[in-house]
Amino acid sequence: MRRMGHRAWLVVAALLVLTNGTFPAIWILFTSLKTEAELTRTPITYWPAEPTLANYVRAFQEAPLPRYFLNSLVVAAGATILCVSISALAAYALARLRVLFAHALLLTLVALAMFPTATLVVPLFQIFTTLGLRNTYLGLILPHAALSLPVAVLVLYSFFKTIPKDLEAAALVDGCTRLGALWYVVVPLSGPGVFTAALLAFVNSWDEFLLALTLAPAKDMRTLPVGITLYQGEYLFPWPLISAALVVALVPVAVVIALFQERIVAGLTQGAVKG
């Protein structure tokens, strides 16, 4: 009896979370299968009355979607790796090593997040033009990594803080160097933290629009968000077409999330306290 009630709650909770998260995605999916005419029907339809794949065909015809996808992937992956490595080092230093003015440094790191990207665009454009990095992968990887730096550092900082100092102390007593302690003790235990930071950096980069538009507008360098906005006309907004492109853009992120979330779970099974 008790187990039945328990199971029911699980199902309810699962449905709630699922519905909340997926209804716009599902709406986009349905819209991508409709024609524009159906969008002005009253009462509105949910499931497409005459489903069609024409929008997907057009989406691939009118723009090099696979290329945009590749660009987004390279930039996001590069930004994630760069961001997480740099953040892990910085977070560890702030959390564990005796650093002067740790609080002030933390504040400075986070200060970057206090500027809306739009205010940074003009000087960034100038810097990256001078460096010759316009329309290059590196020219987007660097700013994207930097944009996620504050949140990644803070997430990893609070994670490192939750790992008991005794574990490292024990390793140090056993003759490990600081670097060794970091590698053999701390990193394995911070699975959830590292993968959370990585996921944050990845999705931030995947979705980023303004810098991608400004620093890499060339046709073969565009990322997905930039490319998708180009389906618009000056006044024209073709919802079904854009929805199809959005589905194409969202599916890989969904896959990445599905994969990463397993790793966040796996981090737990390392046994945080067993010591």
């Binding site: 909340n20 230093a93 650093v99 970057l112 206090m114 803070l154 997430v155 979705d207 981090g267």
Partner: protein, 294 residues
């Protein structure tokens, strides 16, 4: 034996911090300095002014600008509504996502998908949802027998439509951070508490919440910072309308800088946003450092 240890630890700390600060110098420090300096100049390209130094003139003008104060007010209202809103909703989502399911990935996916949608499009999608003729919100209302509401053109409804959309979109970021925090609470703690006879609510208050504090603070910091910078969703949904009812500080800054080409003035407004963000983050961070004293 202590001295060499100290030195090498300091050196190590230095090397660990250098890459981060190097990257930041490139991407943040220079632009921020540029912004700071421009805020003291008269640089209004539409008037052809060339950037003469004018001290605090831009700031003084801001203080007298009713539109600036309106934008500030709208922004603070959004912060006061969407930060607690997204945090509570995100917490609820994270707790629900943390239940022991047989198959975990569908729920976790549903949790994080809202966050995966590019902000640029999220705003447009919500505009469509709240449209008075063809949006699903009014469709549902119609089916329930209620008349259609003008979500996007009534000043109060527009604010709530925007706030609701923001809460929905950002709650999954909060949920992600909190979920990771929840996952790092060892299950042994819960078991021990249950053995001691604690009820679910007690477990939540005494064990979960305190151990979640660091993650909660991280989520709060970034949720607040992005709330202060709210731009994309109101821009796409209402353009700041009706009138100026949903015009945020970030929209005000963009209008001044990019549309009106009044770069000095826009920079001054951006610096006020920065000062506000700095103050708020300082408070949070102090709290974060304090909680580790245990």
């Amino acid at each position: 034996m202590r001295r060499p240890w100290d030195l090498s630890e300091r050196a190590l700390a230095f090397f660990f911090l250098v890459p981060a600060f190097l990257l930041l110098s490139l991407v943040a420090v220079y632009p921020a300095a540029h912004l700071f300096l421009t805020s003291f100049r008269e640089l209004h390209l539409a008037l052809g002014t060339q950037g003469a130094f004018v001290g605090l003139a831009n700031y003084r003008q801001l203080l007298e600008d009713a539109r600036f104060w309106n934008a500030l007010r709208v922004t603070l209202e959004i912060v006061l509504v969407t930060v607690p809103g997204a945090t509570l909703f995100g917490l609820a989502l994270a707790l629900m996502a943390n239940l022991p399911y047989g198959i975990k990935w569908p729920v976790r996916l549903g949790l994080l998908l809202p966050w995966a949608m590019p902000l640029v499009f999220a705003g447009l999608i919500f505009r469509w949802f709240f449209e008075s003729d063809f949006g699903i919100v009014n469709d549902v209302l119609r089916r329930l027998g209620q008349g259609p509401l003008f979500w996007l053109t009534d000043p109060i409804l527009a604010f709530w439509a925007v706030a609701l959309s923001i809460v929905w979109k950002t709650s999954s970021f909060v949920a992600l951070v909190l979920l990771a925090g929840l996952q790092s609470i060892p299950r042994e703690y819960y078991e021990a508490a249950r053995v001691d006879g604690a009820g679910a609510l007690q477990i939540f208050w005494r064990i979960t919440l305190p151990l979640l504090k660091p993650a909660l603070l991280v989520a709060l910091i970034f949720r607040t910072l992005t709330a202060l910078q709210t731009f994309d969703i109101p821009y796409a949904m209402t353009g700041g309308g009706p009138g100026h009812a949903t015009e945020t500080l970030a929209m005000f800054i963009r209008t001044q800088s990019v549309e009106n080409l009044n770069l000095g003035y826009g920079s001054a407004a951006a610096m006020t946003l920065f000062a506000l963000s700095m103050a708020v983050t300082s408070l949070y961070l102090r709290h974060l450092q304090a909680t580790e004293g245990e």
